[in-house]
């Protein structure tokens, strides 16, 4: 295969999650469901969250979208399922900061684990939104679950990823 191996975007970890997404497929038990779209490219994600008190008991999602958004949400589920809302927020903040770093970020592997593979994405403003899609959906779902709003939030557009859009 002649794909240049120095590609900063399509890291092996990303391709692995894209080919074999973890926790993929919507599951029946949930406290909040949100549907987020990236209006500029047509990426969409439906995501469900089940809380157990203050803990993210389960996160599930449908499996469509580009490799970056798919791999990102897959990595995210592995990182946050079982964590407390506060700890998930810490991971979220670290990932958001990495995405806004324009390729200059020094990711904390202890916090971000596999998600450090997305460092390179932050150099591609158009793809930052893809990487953030699932994370924004989770933040939104968490707020709704905590507020006891089970009904689906049908279309919530993602906010700007902070980078030049």
């Amino acid at each position: 295969m002649s794909q240049p191996s120095f590609d900063p975007l399509y890291q092996e970890i990303i391709l692995d999650h894209y080919r074999q997404p973890r926790h993929c497929g919507l599951r029946d038990a949930y406290d909040a469901e949100v549907h987020h779209v990236n209006p500029t490219c047509g990426d969409e994600v439906t995501l469900r969250l089940q809380l157990d008190g203050d803990r993210l008991a389960d996160v599930s999602y449908d499996c469509e979208g580009c490799s970056i958004s798919q791999a990102s949400v897959s990595v995210m589920t592995e990182l946050v399922i079982g964590k407390s809302v506060a700890d998930a927020q810490t991971v979220h903040d670290a990932f958001l900061a990495l995405m806004q770093s324009k390729g200059q970020g020094e990711p904390d592997e202890a916090v971000l684990e596999d998600a450090v593979a997305f460092s390179g994405v932050s150099r591609y403003p158009a793809r930052v939104k893809c990487a953030l899609l699932g994370w924004m959906a989770l933040r939104d779902a968490t707020a709704r679950a905590q507020a006891g709003m089970r009904e689906t939030a049908e279309i919530v557009t993602t906010t700007e990823g902070g980078a030049a859009s």
Partner: protein, 417 residues
């Protein structure tokens, strides 16, 4: 006129010498988004700034007169490029989008009850293949006035479905606005049956020529429409300039849109009277250097000949359609014949998101556009979140199409799962 020679033409476009992605030749197939600019256009703009830069229309000094002559000269060139009956029918705006909004807002400003006004019970007809710039202004006008927005649907092969034209374009219809050539599907729409029906019911017809005017000869008098909009940056000219052509009698009737300098006749604090068209619709300092660039672009296109350009692009389109048919799991969204279609080809690759297609192609130097191309309803209609689109210009070569097809092979290998 010398014979059309694509290699000679390419030498006129400095950016085509550029390399990307670590030394790969740029294969620019995103011409429907914006075109590249020949040196002749860049030189004209630079010369303007280095010699004659001044504000227009009010100067008695040399630079002011030169700038005015250049700016108004660009209007003359534009008028004859589209065979307008009169130079005063050509209004310069900032882009095609402003041109359409100008029509919609000026109509919205018409006194209730006047011939141009729209209101509850009136209908505005568009189509499902419009660019957002020819959808949203009409949605907003409908919201402001209470008029109803309706649209023609599409057939499975990406054509306008005219089977219910007579029902949708009816005595209540005040305005029909549709795209001449679709930026996402490549479809070239038939103008004549729509104009004919519109005349029968007394509706105005506006045409979005953003994708047609750059690629083949357009004659507004032959088309018989009431207005045509197009945009400089897609036809080798600078960004920052769009063109609204409209029948003089329509421009006379339309109330003004933007208020300010240049568009007035006499201003008192309490009320103002307005200039004659086209100035009535050109408030503020116009895009002067951009008009100069547009004029140079029109000269360049005319020297090569719009028919020769259309022929070349048709050959490239045909070559591409053939080549894409050889790519497995690739589905063309839009007409897959060369008949009544232009050089803008959208496709979907099974199981691979357009974002990934475009991104990987970029690592091979191939620039295509991915997304909904500001025509989301078309994506919805064809059940895809987005498409990958390759679009051509007079400088596109078959070698570039080969590079695209080779790149698509790499995409399949890389993302196949």
């Amino acid at each position: 006129m010398p014979a059309f020679d694509v290699e000679t033409i390419r030498k006129d476009f400095p950016v085509l010498e550029r390399t990307v992605a670590g030394g790969k030749a740029l294969v620019y197939l995103d011409n429907a988004a914006t075109s590249q600019k020949p040196a002749a256009v860049l030189d004209a703009v630079r010369d303007y700034y280095e010699r004659s830069n001044a504000n227009v229309h009010r100067g008695v000094h040399t630079l002011g007169e030169e700038a005015t002559a250049l700016y108004e000269g660009a209007r003359d060139l534009t008028a004859s490029f589209i065979n307008a009956a009169d130079r005063s029918e050509v209004v310069f705006a900032k882009n095609a989008t402003e041109g359409i909004n100008l029509l919609a807002y000026a109509i919205g400003n018409a006194a209730p009850g006047s011939a141009l006004a729209v209101g509850p019970g009136d209908e505005i007809l568009i189509t499902e293949m419009e660019h957002h710039s020819n959808i949203v202004p009409w949605q907003l006008l409908a919201q402001r006035t209470g008029a109803t927005l309706r649209w023609l649907g599409l057939t499975d092969d990406g054509r306008l479905d005219l089977s219910n034209l007579d029902e949708l374009l009816n005595a209540r219809t005040k305005i029909v606005s549709f795209v001449h050539q679709s930026n996402i599907l490549g479809t070239i729409n038939p103008v004549e049956p729509i104009v004919r029906r519109a005349r029968d019911v007394g509706a105005l017809v506006f045409l979005d020529g953003s994708q047609s005017v750059p690629h083949h000869a357009v004659d507004v008098q032959a088309l018989g429409v009431d207005a045509l909009v197009f945009t400089g940056h897609k036809m080798l000219a600078p960004t920052g300039i769009g063109i609204l052509w409209a029948r003089r009698s329509l421009l006379d009737e339309l109330p003004p849109f933007l208020g300010g300098g240049e568009m007035i006749s006499e201003v008192t604090m309490a009320a103002s009277t307005y200039a004659e068209p086209p100035h009535k619709f050109e408030a503020g300092t116009p895009p002067i250097a951009e008009a100069v660039g547009l004029g140079a672009a029109i000269r360049y296109l005319t020297d090569i000949g719009m028919d020769a350009i259309a022929e070349h692009e048709a050959a490239i389109t045909s070559y591409t359609l053939d080549a894409l048919r050889s790519v497995p799991d690739l589905r063309i969204i839009g007409p897959d014949t060369t008949q009544a279609r232009g050089g803008s080809i959208s496709f979907a690759m099974k199981g691979i998101h357009p974002h990934d297609v475009g991104q990987l192609l970029d690592t091979y130097g191939v620039a295509v556009r991915v997304g909904h191309h500001c025509a989301r309803p078309v994506c919805v209609r064809f059940g895809v979140p987005a498409t990958t689109r390759a679009s051509f210009a007079l400088y596109t070569t078959t070698a570039e199409i080969d590079a695209l097809v080779e790149g698509l092979g790499h995409v399949r290998t890389f993302f196949g799962r």
